[in-house]
Symmetry: C2
């Protein structure tokens, strides 16, 4: 079986094609808007969420080609949230994946609109998988999912540490879309209800493991490996797992959630091996 | 038959209920986000787009209850675009429907997120009508529809007048979602392909008539009747129909597009009467 790096790279190649096919060319008017959308999308991210759609689809016996719209949908959704989170009124970040953020490379208005259009395109892509995929994405992307998590995250800045609020932020801001990615893969692969539930449980645990690993990397990584400014969470008084529980407890909890994710794959037998390998990678990665 | 004011008021009552049922209560966390979403949605707008969903559904013999998710979808989509358009980085408006804009009543970050969450909720509501409704909404809300129109509108500020660009902006920024509203009503009412095409043609012409009437009102109305600052388009050097062609030509073109809209309803016979009345109202309104 290929290792996580090879799996991510395979999924990334499929994702690039699925995204390119669904985004208007840079020459299409309004050209500035389409340039900004493509700048944000084709920035060399890990493509973790598309990989989850792909591997979840495979785990239930679905074909790669069936998953393609889902790969595009979750990456466009994720990218729009990054573009908006980086805005001056939000996290005010200048660097993303080692390059100027969208509003720095273009301007604020264009970045807001590029994010808005990417969200619309994400739902258009999800619709290719049917109405149920749209329902899942809308639930996990909205005010009780990713957007709600970002609001809580902003509101928590500089406030006393609060373990319950931290967990709610992690579940909504990060785990929700990672779980949705697994569910979209399940839907694309025509999973049974039990299979979809198992993949959702995997996604939820993996999402928590991923966010905790992110919090750890913010204090342990360098800007060169991370592609963004490390130490920024601490400087902004962000509520992180490390701030609440310390570095050792964060590493232990990340590993525990990764194990929970792997345990949720039991019923897939060998077909769950690729997703299990991804769970291992998520907590051991350096960037 | 009830007149346009009565029809709009009937649709508004249905829309309030459909929206209320699909938005989390203000007490649900993050409470600040849900307060901002409801503040923006329940601001006493005309509810023109929900009315179009409702009346288009009726025109093809559909039941009001089938249209309800569509009423909510188009109004949430429309409201999110207003919240984002009002932001300081965009049109920088302080007043909307006679009240402080969302970022003035809350803050910029919350307004960006409330808009983002409203867009997600709009697609969730559209999914209740099935994947085709989502596809239509995604097409007309995205970079080749509403968002693309807003980008063109911003890029055109202070530039020489350009009739072709003006028409593109009107078609995308305003007519696209008005046409989509008619199409969602058609889908909700299980319209034939010919019926849906006729309703789309009606919506396109009505959308142009509506935007031209808006441009006229910006120079002829008072703040009290308009609920927002009149004369703002001219002050910002916005590309409007009046700026390009003059007030008399604008009034004539608005009336012509309203007639085209009414002509598109021929095949519906008496069932098209309510939509025809709405077209009359759109160009004769004072606010």
């Amino acid at each position: 079986m290929p290792d996580a790096v090879a799996l991510l790279s395979e999924a990334a190649a499929l994702a690039e094609r699925a995204l390119d096919a669904r985004l208007p060319a840079e020459s299409v008017e309004p050209a500035r808007l389409h340039r900004a959308m493509r700048y944000a999308i084709f920035a060399g991210g890990k493509r973790l969420r598309p990989a989850l759609v792909l591997l979840a689809c495979r785990a239930v016996g679905g074909r790669d080609v069936s998953a393609a719209p889902g790969l595009a949908a979750v990456e466009m959704l994720h990218t729009y949230t990054l573009v908006h989170d980086d805005l001056p009124a939000m996290d005010d970040d200048d660097l993303r994946r080692g390059r100027p953020t969208c509003h720095k490379a273009f301007d604020e208005a264009t970045a807001i609109l590029a994010g808005d259009a990417l969200q619309a395109a994400a739902f258009g892509a999800a619709a290719e998988l049917g109405a149920e995929a749209v329902r899942v994405l809308a639930r996990d992307a909205g005010s009780l999912g990713v957007v709600g998590g970002q609001q809580d995250d902003l509101d928590a800045e500089g406030k006393p540490v609060d373990g319950a609020l931290l967990e709610r932020i992690h579940r909504r801001k990060t785990a929700a879309l990672i779980r949705a990615s697994c569910e979209l893969g399940a839907i694309a692969g025509a999973a049974s209800s039990a299979q979809r539930q198992a993949l959702a449980a995997y996604g939820e645990a993996l999402g928590l493991a991923f966010q905790i690993a992110d919090d750890v990397l913010d204090v342990t990584a360098t800007a060169a490996t991370l592609g963004k400014t490390p130490g920024k969470d601490a400087a902004q008084g962000k509520l992180t797992y490390v701030a609440v529980h310390g570095l050792d407890a964060a590493r232990a909890e990340g590993a525990r959630q990764a194990s929970l994710a792997q345990a949720a794959l039991a019923e897939f037998g060998p077909r769950g091996a690729e997703l299990a390998e991804l769970a291992r990678f998520v907590v051991e990665r350096r960037s």
